[in-house]
Amino acid sequence: MAVLSPLIAVALTVATTFVIFALYGVDPFRGLYIYFVAPLTEGWSREELVVKATPLILIAAGLAVAYLSNNWNIGAEGQFTIGAIAGSAIPILAPDFQTFATLPLMLIMGALGGALYATIPALLKTRFGTNEILTSLMLVYVSLLFLDWIVRGPWRDPMAFGFPNTVSFSDAALIPFIGTGRLNASAIVALVVVLALAAVLARTLKGFEIRVLGESPRAGAFAGFSAKRMTVFAFAVSGALAGLAGIMEVASVIGKLQPVISPGYGFTAIIVAFLGRLNPIGILIAGFVIALSYLGGEAIQSGLQVSSRMAQVLQGLLLFFVLACDTLILYRVRLARPATPTGAPARA
């Protein structure tokens, strides 16, 4: 049943999309075809699917660690942003440093930046008992404004004719492309991380600790695990992976820092994490499903003149249905009726 729930949710989402298309006055079958099938028919768009799925999967895998251990990191978008800024510091501040070590250093800086930024809500939670959902979310807006300021102010490329962006990264600071389009090596990094995380969660004591503390903090303490240290660990891991996704995004398909570097990957990854049952392999699959919704949104805009906001509607519906399925599978809705002794014996 637990495996079935995301499938039911996807089916319900498709059905609802069908109805929305019909209400829009679009032939719903054609709409569904253009949204969900057409993007898979061409080579370039299949590559694009991987490009979109990569950051989603990487962030969601990190979030799974946090959510499994009962730490609610909602601020992956901010950690993504700070990771991108931290990693970009190398090609922007030292553009002449171009060696084989440049890129690995950038990735490390990105992961570190994301991890440190995520540690702020973690420490606020362990020290002062603040609600990490609020603080991590609020820090998203801080990071977005910081990015906006830094690309318009100190890090702006003086040769950019007043456009708010930094210098373009040198080749040594860019992740190699491996396809015909925008497909690049960050997909491989994401795949390796997901597989490693799957092994850690399933086989190691740390993975055990994550699950036990998430299920029952009291039993975790009895096993000698510290819930506070786990909070810091889980936030740091999810922040590091979000930061890594951030720097890989700017060091590949974007190639520089600019005011907007993410179409909301950090938030959408929350949906991916739940759709994938907080399981790294499930997240791998869910990442592609959600990436398809981005591509489909663009496809219906150009093909059918339907707003690409449709993609956001669809992602919202999907999360709604996943959570609803989980709840309704575990609980039964019963309408309260007044108690009157009926003539019949209890349900035979």
Partner: protein, 537 residues
Amino acid sequence: MDQAARSVTHEGKAAPLLATQGLTKRFGALTACDHITWDISHGEVHALLGENGAGKSTLVKMLYGALAPDEGGILWEGRPVAIGSPAEARRLGIGMVFQHFSLFEALSVAENIALALPPRGRRELAETIRKVSREYGLPLDPDAGIADLSVGERQRVEIVRCLLQEPRLIIMDEPTSVLTPQESEILFVTLRRLASEGVAILYITHRLSEVLALAGRATILRRGKLVATADPRVESAKSLARMMIGADVAGIERPGRPEAHLRPRLVLGKLSQPPDGAFSTALADIDLTVSAGEVVGIAGVAGNGQGEFFDALSGEKLLPRADMIVIDGVAVGRQGVNDRRRLGAAFVPEERIGHGAVPALRLSENVVLTRHATDGDIARGLVVHRAAARAIEERVGERFDVRRSGADPRASALSGGNLQKFMVGREIDRNPGILVVNQPTWGVDAGAARTIRQALVDLARSGSAVLMISQDLDEIFEVADRVAVLSGGRLSPLYPAETMTSDQIGLLMGGVHHDHDGAAPVPAQPAEPRHELRHAP
């Protein structure tokens, strides 16, 4: 039974207050209640007896509307009724006092009671509470905060809340498990008085002495079937136990302590700890030595610091000074639970679900929970070896007769008694030098309790030191070599168990001892037959 049921359908005046006809409930392949035909009359105290998993709580839940039967029906005063929810049950006049209290600690007595009743004036309610509680010998102050009440007083609140709904049938689930013998006696007086007013009382218990003292009839369930309805006046505890289990229960074997073993293994020196929040008990100046070869029993009523004491011993809460706890010569007061485990200590907490075991995890994973630090082949390097954990799970299951559905089930799939056997077995399997166990047989059936108690004695006699915290005096007398009482976070001096009676322990529970320098405050009377809970009506 059949005759009783028939008389009901024929609309006789003799219709019992409540009767069931062929009431059946199945959970998958298991038939928890198998065609139970049974009745209870006005003014009757009726005991419901049975081992864990015999179907007592399933039956009661159906009567209280918390579970829908698969087959059969319920008759209320001869009329068929469908009880769809506890609210409907309450409207019919069925009240229930649960084993676990459902009170809000931060609210007052009156506020808690108001939550369960239809809205009415505050002052009027307070007056009613005062009047009713006094009338039944359970005096309560409606303005008192629940947090400040003793466990016995909290139960009074539950009972008074139930009484205010003017029930005609009260279901009580193991009501004395949290009471001192003296408090139990007060409860019995109230119950007898209620019965004399025509209220029917269905009394669930596993304490046979209480059945003998209180009940007019006893119904015995075994594996979902009603096996007997007995008259306690002509039965003995032994004959009732035989009906419950289907065989004679052997007492446990307790060979004498070998003198050679008297080497202190667990030494507590002035163990003190400030309270952790408003609802917790401070521990003060606890001195105790547990030696190799013996079981020390810590008696006491719930809420007197047992949980805090256990956490301090296990290291889940660290103490102010290292030398407050010494394990085999090593001061460990500042060290965590796994450090203490590495020194040979093992712990079994009171709460099974969510403390001693994680319900969503498999049994083998629950083996990893407490043994990852001590068993090298479970967590070698940072990798968990499931096969090693599985082997331990198999071994514990075999040795302690843990009934599991299929191989390596989730902990949530086990009944309370089986999970408890597993948790005790998981630690004893390590052959620990020191075992600290809190309420080892709480809510466990007689057969499982015997297994566990025997294992505790055997472990001690093999040279380990066993510290057992228990509210069950029968258990303490059966297992412990020496006894102390924890009351208000302080520990009485230790007494040899054979010199104590349950009345003397009852006095210590009330906190009579605290003049430490005085002579033994409770005169030891070894000649008196001990732990006699039976009270003539």
